[in-house]
């Protein structure tokens, strides 16, 4: 596979180019790279065609026409609750149908193929830009397949597809991976979470409204107005009105004792609370709320700028405060625990500073959608101010271009700067949920997005769309996935709610091969001798940048004939010491439109960018607990201390060794002290010393049967647990004591000896008491 090393014009050209870049001789560079070419080993530079220039990273070879592959896209934005799964891929939906109607063990191969063919048709339609719900796309795709096959609308194929359709349990818009996907997905997830929140809100508020209404209704039923003939007649209705004498009923009721009514103050308070609960505009009205034609529409919570969102929050704050107060008063009133003297001052003082997170959690969160390159750049600054405020604002920052332009070219920050680092910066806000990912990962990031949307505080979602205009020919799905693979836009999440420390809050495990600098993947190809070769090829930031036509001038593809020994993979080149790097030419493996393999030699510009990218990635790794420098340093220190201690111990042992070890008596084995024999399995419980001459009761065993108290309720009494004790021995006779002892159902009275020795028949009583002492 190694190409013969020959001295060519290419080498000198490449070296000169990289030297010129370092010297800032950009005109010369531009001139040199304006003509993309590969170097022929013998004949010097060879111009290549424009089509050949569209080289792609070699690992893209397996991804041809995405519309013919089964993968995470298109996505179905599931309508309704969807069992808590708001996003599904078309593939997973179809797999679910197949599991239901054509399990592998069943003899349903034909049906399976037909369903997969239908999926293929839907996928093709979506990739062509058709946008509709899954059910509509299904209908149209099925009609096309049936027409294509020349069958009738009720033929065998239609029957089979109808059978499959019965197993289709979800519906919703079907979308492909494009520049609009992050916005649509995030808005959809936000809406789904708000819908479930609204349901809980309405349930709570409706229940309060109904209970408060019940209180007023019960009070009204005690009023004179409710006892009038007309009111009674209205309550019975028309069906049986002739069976009653409502006037007589009214007279009887009015003569009855007046019942306790609510105070006017309480009635007024409940009505005021009802008014606030029923007229809230944060969610649509629930079942228990009245719907009036003049009722204003519920508030919107989706904004395209942070300033507008914050203004709306401030404007609605008084209503929020009123609602929180009404909610609390309602809960107190329902429990009949509102005390004017205690609670009125609390509610009079209640203001925005008293609003707690759990109270704010009742209300919808605010969604702000920003798009890098289109939104006013000042909004980025405002976004951080908004997130830092701690308010429940969810900010989406969509980025379409993470590499940036090449002109003007600052030496270091033209790659990977700006919006690609916003999410990492937001982690410093500490209380903000931060999630960064690429468009291609959105389906797998379902739970991350839902968690962020449900988080009570602010959240930032940074998403790279992959729809970079300067990468024509690379689908957004592939490019955004490449951004994650190349660490240009790694996936990570910072969730302040899951734990107290960084180890639990920060997570980078959603990245491919997160413990290494660059993920490596299998590449299979044939060499000149048509022999099959498998290699592990790392995918680096250089590979990602090479997809961008703006950076094509920093890349020079060389066909296999021009491969030489001094070419090394960019990933290996990155590890070289600076003084050795001049001896080599970094390259990445690329392919042309015919999947022919090239070594594309890249300029230092891309190498520098890759170094910066790797450095940023390592900082994220450290936050995620991979190769943490503090931990490594501590480990090294502890290991050194341990080794030093062991070395010292060894030295001491050697120093203490007698010159003739064979004559030395063997040290006695250390014999651990023999433990004392185990104590008795159960230590003897300290028996209470009871004087058999004194009367006493085992109060804890008393069953409240009243036997003793009925004999003498001064001698025997009940304690706070309604269990008997001897209250006063002098309050009765020894005979009563003995009788109570004998009648006690559980024999817990112990009469002791008589106190009054003059009491008659003592001998007999003592004999009777003997067995209870």
């Amino acid at each position: 596979m190694t190409a013969p090393r020959t001295k060519t014009a290419y080498e000198g050209d490449s070296l000169r180019r990289r030297r010129d870049v370092r010297n800032g001789n950009m005109d010369q560079v531009a001139l040199d790279i304006a003509s993309p070419r590969v170097m022929d080993a013998d004949a010097g530079p060879v111009m290549i065609s424009a089509g050949d220039a569209a080289l792609r990273p070699a690992l893209f070879a397996r991804y041809g026409d995405l519309s013919k592959l089964r993968y995470d896209f298109p996505l179905v934005l599931v309508d309704g609750e969807g069992g808590g799964r708001f996003l599904q891929s078309l593939t997973s939906v179809m797999d679910g149908i197949l599991r239901e109607v054509a399990p592998p063990e069943a003899t349903a191969e034909m049906l399976r193929r037909q369903v997969l063919r239908l999926e293929c048709e839907i996928r093709a339609r979506v990739s062509r830009g058709e946008s509709d719900t899954l059910s509509s796309l299904w209908k149209r795709a099925a009609a096309d397949l049936i027409a294509e096959k020349g069958e009738s609308l009720f033929g065998p194929l239609a029957t089979k597809l109808d059978q499959a359709r019965e197993a289709l349990h979800v519906d919703g818009a079907v979308i492909d991976c494009d520049e609009n996907t992050p916005y649509r997905v995030l808005v959809h997830v936000w809406t789904a979470v708000q819908t479930s929140k609204a349901k809980a809100f309405r349930k709570k508020v409706d229940a309060l409204i109904m209970k408060l209404s019940d209180i007023l209704k019960a009070d009204f039923m005690k009023s004179d107005k409710a006892h009038t003939r007309e009111a009674l007649q209205s309550a019975v209705g028309t069906s049986f009105e002739s069976a009653f004498d409502f006037a007589a009923m009214s007279r009887v009721l009015s003569r009855g004792p007046s019942e306790d009514r609510l105070s006017e103050d309480r009635r007024r308070r409940i009505r005021a609370v009802l008014q606030v609960l029923q007229s809230q505009r944060f969610y649509g009205p629930g079942r228990a709320s009245e719907r009036r034609p003049d009722q204003p529409e519920p508030y919107s919570f989706v904004f395209d700028g942070c300033a507008a969102a914050l203004d709306a929050f401030r404007d609605r704050l008084p209503e929020m405060l009123d609602f929180v107060k009404a909610l609390t008063i309602a809960e107190l009133e329902i429990q009949n625990k509102y005390r004017t003297s205690l609670h009125d001052p609390v509610f009079a003082r209640f203001d925005k500073s008293d609003l707690s997170e759990d109270q704010l959690a009742h209300f919808p969160s605010y969604l702000v959608c920003l798009r890098d390159g289109r939104t006013d750049p000042a909004e980025t600054v405002r976004a951080f101010e908004t997130l830092a405020s701690g308010l429940p604002v969810k900010v989406l920052i969509q980025t379409d271009d993470i590499l940036g332009t090449t002109s003007p070219e600052p030496p270091r920050s033209s790659f990977g700067a700006g919006s690609a680092r916003l999410a990492a910066m937001a982690v410093g806000l500490n209380d903000t949920y931060v999630f960064q990912t690429a468009n291609a990962n959105l389906y797998r990031a379902h739970d991350r997005m839902v968690t962020g949307m449900r988080y009570d505080g602010p959240a930032l979602f940074a998403v790279y769309s992959g729809a970079t205009p300067s990468t024509a020919g690379v689908p957004p799905y592939l490019l955004s996935a490449a951004a994650t693979e190349s660490r240009a836009f790694p996936t990570f999440v910072y969730d302040p709610a899951v734990g107290p420390d960084l180890a639990t809050r920060f997570d980078i495990t959603d990245n491919p091969q997160a413990t290494v600098d660059w993920p490596a993947h299998d590449l299979s190809y044939e060499d000149d001798a048509l022999q099959h070769i498998d290699e592990k090829i790392p995918f680096t930031h250089v590979d990602f940048a090479a997809c961008d036509t703006r950076y094509a001038r920093y890349c020079e593809p060389a066909p296999r004939a021009n491969w030489r020994d001094d070419m090394i993979l960019a990933v290996d080149y990155l590890k070289l010491a600076p003084e050795r790097s001049v001896e080599h030419h970094p390259y990445i493996l690329t392919i042309d439109a015919d999947n022919a393999l090239y070594r594309t030699v890249v300029d230092d510009k891309l190498i520098d960018a890759a170094r910066h990218c790797a450095d940023a990635w390592r900082r994220l790794q450290e936050l995620g607990g991979v190769n943490n420098s503090y931990a490594n340093r501590l480990l090294a220190r502890e290991r050194a201390a341990w080794e030093e201690q062991k070395a010292q111990e060894l030295a001491e042992l050697r120093a203490a060794e007698p010159p003739t070890p064979e004559a030395a008596p063997l040290p006695e084995a250390a014999v651990p002290p023999v433990p004392a024999p185990a104590a008795a399995a159960e230590p003897a419980e300290a028996e209470e010393s009871v004087n058999p001459d004194e009367a006493w009761i085992e109060t804890a065993r008393c069953t409240t049967c009243n036997e003793c108290t009925q004999i003498n309720n001064k001698m025997f009494a009940y304690n706070e647990n309604m269990q008997a004790y001897i209250a006063d021995l002098n309050a009765g006779t020894y005979r009563q004591l003995v009788e109570a002892t004998e009648s006690c159902q559980v024999s817990i009275i112990h009469p002791g000896k008589p106190r009054d020795l003059t009491e008659p028949n003592l001998e007999d009583l003592i004999a009777r008491a003997e067995s209870f002492i």
Partner: protein
């Protein structure tokens, strides 16, 4: 975790219920020495310790000596029809899930005329505490054999002695699907009785406690062998069940460590005849409650119910052609 504002404000109100707050003005009319007194005291102690507002507590009963219970509690009460305590309690719980529902029923009320309701109440697993006062006889009606009367018991209805083996309420309950809490107590160990009732109350679901209860009038000395010989009582102890205080443990030394999640062993223990097992036999907190399963996502308001009912009635209403009533407009 912050404390909700409502809870903070509730704490401002210093309500401290004592045991007497749960005693009604009516003094218990049970016979002197009746075990029902012990159960009443245990329930009142529980209400006090849990600080249950009397207006949020309801005791439902059927018919029998034990069913006089609601009269003696200062709380809402429903002294219902024979055998029908459980359906009434279920209705209360469905309509007012915020109430603490206790059911007191006797061996005749529950295991005979109310047996069908009992079986299905176990299956429904609604959140309530059910106390079966089992004295093994119909006492209120002056001694007839009940389903739990021992074989050979001579009574007004079985003058030659009961012919059948008694029904074991524990094994029956443990055999019903969805059973979630089964315990047995005896009235003559009040500390353990209280402990078991407290655990039953804290369990979310249908907590069934059979309390063996002495009847000094019609079953006098029936339980004497066990009352007088603590070694014949088997106390089931466990970290998640009953834990005995030292003074009780010293008397009742026949103890078995029984895991309340072990249904198989619970059934074995429930079948003991020579010894009386006391403790929590079975507990499964994972069984869903019917009221939770049935709870709709949105409340049914009176207006909505009225509308739906009218629509349904209109479907089958025959409107007289010659006036009187008119069909509703479309």
């Amino acid at each position: 975790m912050t404390v909700p504002l409502t809870q903070c404000l509730l704490r401002l109100i210093d309500e401290n219920y004592t045991l007497t707050d749960y005693q009604s003005d009516i003094a218990p009319r049970w016979c002197t020495g009746c075990g029902d007194n012990s159960i009443l005291t245990a329930v009142q102690r529980l209400c006090r310790d849990e600080q249950l507002p009397p207006e949020k507590t309801v005791v439902v009963s059927g018919i029998g000596c034990s069913s006089r219970f609601p009269h003696y509690m200062n709380a809402y009460g429903f002294h219902g029809l024979h055998g029908r305590a459980l359906p009434v309690a279920e209705g209360i719980k469905l309509r007012r899930p915020d109430l603490h529902v206790f059911v007191t029923t006797g061996d005749g009320d529950c295991c005979s005329i109310g047996a069908a309701h009992w079986i299905h109440a176990i299956r429904y697993n609604m959140d309530m505490t059910v106390l079966l006062h089992d004295n093994e006889v119909y006492g209120l009606t002056k001694m007839q054999a009940s389903p739990t009367s021992p074989r050979g018991l001579k009574s007004n209805t079985t003058p030659r002695g009961a012919l059948l083996d008694p029904l074991n309420p524990l094994t029956v309950t443990l055999g019903v699907p969805n059973v979630s809490f089964v315990a047995q107590a005896v009235d003559w160990i009040p500390e353990v009785l209280f402990n078991i009732i407290a655990q039953a109350y804290r369990h979310k679901g249908f907590s069934f406690v059979r309390v063996l209860q002495r009847c000094p009038e019609f079953m006098d000395h029936r339980f004497d062998p066990w009352v007088q010989d603590p070694s014949k009582m088997r106390l089931l102890v466990h970290a998640d069940g009953v834990q005995l205080k030292p003074d009780i443990s010293r008397i009742y030394r026949n103890q078995e460590t029984h895991d309340p999640t072990d249904l198989h062993r619970a059934r074995e223990v429930a079948s003991l005849t020579e010894e009386i097992p006391v403790g929590v036999l079975y507990r499964n907190s994972a069984v869903p409650c019917y009221e939770d399963l049935r709870e709709g996502e949105r409340p049914n308001t009176p207006g909505l119910i009225r509308t739906v009912l009218n629509e349904e009635f209109d479907k089958v209403t025959i409107w007289p052609e010659d006036g009187g009533a008119t069909a509703p407009a479309e």
